[in-house]
Symmetry: C2
Subunit: 207 residues, 2 copies
């Protein structure tokens, strides 16, 4: 099995490799990846070995090859339909964000409990009522649900997604979800991005 | 100086310590922190030593003491006023998110180039025009700016914040900003949260 800290670094590797591919780079050495991401090159080589990826001594890793394998590992080498529950500020911002498509995620359905929002057209999606959730999630083969409701409705929204058959939840609401084991949950907490930024500012003043 | 990978883990330590404090825990050992966060206890002890924090052998670290010191290091032990440029979906969602205040950040001003939005009241803030940005950022002592504009206006919004005197930018727009050295920038990329989630789902299927 792949250790959790290694798995948590995969998205950093993906992003860094994409930036280099865009610049036209063909191969990359573990030391280069390490310098950009702030890890030792031994850590990079260990992680990639644990992920079943090996480089060519003296040459490094083929960027396209690494990207392809990492995407296969993540399940983002094919289109991954996603449902959003909550067509408010966060829900609408996610619908407008083109970068999801480049990573393989397609927002396939948007649901909201507010009947006044049902039927509204947002980008390529039409807001659906919660009564249509189970049927549409099953028919569209949706595996990931995004909870973008107020905190007090987050648990209910997550349970309905899980009942309909999703395997994972991206949770924006500041509320810990109680879900059956086997359901993966990733929390989003933008206040931690502000903490990181504040620390960077404090450290750059020290140096 | 504090190595970058160590600095990047500080927000994870803060969040974990807050969860334990909320549960009423008084002290914590490096092994407990390691188990929750997926790092070795040697890595935890090394990080905390590099951050100038030491525990008591056999007892562990005092949670309140650790939190206080880490917050002092991050500059979040006092109120930190923040400005948002872009009163659209992301800007409004950030205004409604109460968790910023608990981490020490206060959204002190919101600006937008769309005159039709100027004067609108959002929570405790009133949307201001871009012509008021320099004066308000200086008068309120704002050190952090959040760019929540469309990609094509992100560079201009960031430059105006830097000219007005901010030290750091939290950037939501999918556009690399060119800013003078000494200005800290943190990018937000929610597609990476989806990649993490998709990998977690794939790994839980393997086990
Ligand atoms: N994680 C972060 O960093 C972060 C940042 C900002 C906001 N937030 C949080 O994200 C969530 C969404 O924020 P927002 O600004 O988009 O809120 P919002 O009020 O604009 O939108 C919430 C939507 O959910 C719908 N809704 C309410 N109850 C529902 C239910 N039971 N089932 C389905 N839909 C329901 C509402 O009708 C509304 O359209 C909130 O919990 C907020 O605290 C998180
Ligand atoms: N980083 C992520 O993960 C993520 C996720 C979703 C959306 N986004 C991005 O976040 C940004 C904001 O998204 P949104 O849904 O809130 O967009 P939006 O269109 O709802 O809001 C943008 C706001 O910026 C204002 N604006 C435009 N030009 C301006 C300028 N020159 N100066 C000041 N204000 C200006 C507009 O009037 C509008 O109110 C976009 O760049 C989007 O791609 C990022």
């Amino acid at each position: 099995a792949i250790p959790r800290p290694t798995a948590a670094r995969v998205s950093l590797y993906l992003r860094e490799l994409e930036v280099r591919l865009d610049r036209g780079q063909i191969t990359v050495r573990s030391r280069e990846l390490g310098d950009s991401l702030g890890f030792t090159d031994a850590q990079i080589r260990k992680d990639l070995r644990l992920l079943g990826l090996s480089g060519h001594p003296g040459v490094g890793y083929g960027i396209r090859d690494l990207l392809g394998r990492l995407r296969r590992l993540c399940g983002t080498d094919h289109e991954c339909p996603v449902a959003i529950v909550g067509a408010g500020n966060i829900g609408r911002a996610l619908l407008s964000y083109g970068r999801f498509e480049t990573e393989g995620f397609r927002i396939a359905a948007v649901f909201d409990a507010d009947e006044a929002k049902v039927g509204e057209r947002l980008g390529r999606s039409t807001v659906r009522s919660m009564s249509e959730l189970r049927d549409r999630v099953q028919r569209l083969g949706i595996r990931i649900g995004i909870v973008a409701t107020p905190p007090e409705s987050a648990q209910e929204a997550a349970e309905r997604l899980v009942e309909a058959g999703v395997d994972g939840i991206l949770n924006f609401a500041p509320r810990r979800l109680e879900l059956p084991t086997g359901i993966s949950v990733t929390e989003v907490d933008l206040s931690m991005s502000l903490v990181n930024l504040s620390l960077q500012i404090a450290l750059s003043r020290m140096n």
